[in-house]
């Protein structure tokens, strides 16, 4: 079980806990299998996360970076770690911000490499 961000939710995932709006109202009961429509409703209600059966946030994070080459990932982590050296990386919010910056850095890198490739072949 893990708390997953809205953007990473997918149809077929099963709610481990009731999905609640910030004001406490239950939008969907635990045990429900999510459909495209449920996710859409979460979005329009401004729900930001949901607790899901059988998967953890770490697995989601690992999946999102598995297609990235280890060299680029290492470069990204080193660079972002240097910039984050004055703040406490163990704080949950900072840890998330760090992961997000690594993800953005690798995406940026991948895009600029792609541009070089297309220029060379084109």
């Amino acid at each position: 079980m893990g708390v997953i961000n809205l953007e990473d939710l997918q149809p077929g995932m099963v709610l481990a806990e009731d999905a609640r709006h910030l004001n406490g109202r239950i939008l969907l009961n635990s045990g429900t299998e999510l459909t495209e429509k449920h996710i859409h409703i979460f979005k329009s209600w401004g729900l930001m996360e949901a607790s899901i059966e059988g998967i953890t946030k770490e697995e989601i994070n690992a999946k999102s970076i598995e297609h990235i080459s280890p060299e680029i990932l290492k470069e990204a982590e080193e660079e972002i770690r240097r910039r984050f050296c004055h703040t406490e990386l163990t704080h949950p919010f900072v840890a998330d911000l760090f992961q997000l910056c690594v993800r953005l850095f690798t995406e940026h890198k991948a895009r600029s490499l792609k541009n070089v490739d297309s220029r060379e072949t084109g």
Binding site: V3, N5, R83, F84, T87, E88, F93, L97, F98, L100
Partner: protein
């Protein structure tokens, strides 16, 4: 010997805000004034009126129909909110003569606008009644640096070089070599402008929110917004690292950490437009 007081005193072109802002502020605080009085004051400055209409029709609000008069904008956006937006869009002009040598002004304002927009987004997730106040505080949080860069460029360059060679935080280096930092100078300038105390404190304490003593939402939000903006590297006011986070500030904001990625998507959506209405000549 430079002190924050002397820096602010010698920044003559910055000594007071445009009179239209003062008049607007008086009208907003006066319970007897009507929306029409306020719209009347704004309409006297055609440039300001045009900028405000542009904001009213931007992604900042996403109103379903077009807002084409100032009176209508006052009604749907609110008087305090419009006063704060008027401040945000007029203040940049006052810094038109700042030197580009130490830090590029474009990069400086990019960082400031991104921080303002992020602060505004965090405030709206908290359902704060006036989110524009947070936009202003974020936009102005580093203005003290502009005064330092223009009045003491040699020391400022030295501080920048030191922070780069040691991978250190610029505001700590500032304190080391000058005995004060940009937040002290910015807070003093805003106090001289008679900006509301919450905003003055948000600027003066944005690197040490717990030092105010009592808790204030404005400073906590600007503190976190500054950290997010520095982490994303949208422009820079000179800082090359992410400032150290005060866990109290995050606790006080009391939002789930899952707001981070929707906030950043929202920032991407609002940032370009905010740049256009804050820095019209750069667009």
């Amino acid at each position: 010997m430079w002190t924050p007081e002397r820096l602010v005193k010698e920044a003559k072109t910055l000594s007071s805000l445009p009179t239209i802002y003062t008049r607007l502020n008086e009208a907003v605080s006066n319970p007897w004034s009507s929306n029409r009085d306020i719209a009347g004051i704004i309409s006297e400055d055609a440039g300001l009126a045009a900028r405000l209409l542009r904001i009213a029709n931007s992604a900042f609000y996403g109103f379903p129909s077009k807002i084409d008069t100032i009176t209508r904008a006052v009604t749907v956006i609110g008087t305090q909110q419009l006063r704060d937006l008027a401040l945000a869009t007029s203040v940049i002009n006052m810094f038109a003569d700042m030197p580009n040598e130490v830090v590029s002004m474009e990069s400086f304002w990019q960082h400031s606008i991104a921080c303002g927009v992020t602060a505004r987004i965090l405030a709206s997730y908290r359902r704060e009644p006036n989110v524009e106040r947070f936009f202003v505080a974020g936009l102005l949080h580093d203005v003290g640096r502009l005064i330092i860069y223009s009045k003491m460029p040699d020391i400022a360059c030295q501080a920048l070089e030191d922070s780069q060679s040691k991978n250190a935080l610029l505001y700590e280096i500032e304190k080391e070599i000058m005995g004060f930092d940009h937040a002290d100078v910015g807070g003093l300038l805003l106090r001289q402008w008679k900006i509301p105390e919450n905003t003055v404190n948000a600027v003066a304490f944005h690197h040490k929110p717990s030092a105010i003593g009592e808790f204030q939402m404005d400073v906590s939000i600007v503190h976190i917004a500054d950290i997010i903006t520095n982490a994303l590297q949208i422009g820079s006011s000179g800082e090359i690292c992410v400032p150290s986070m005060d866990p109290n500030a995050w606790m006080q904001i009391n939002l789930p950490k899952s707001i981070l990625s929707p906030s950043i998507s929202e920032l991407k959506r609002q940032y370009d437009e905010a740049v256009k209405f804050v820095l019209p000549e750069a667009a």
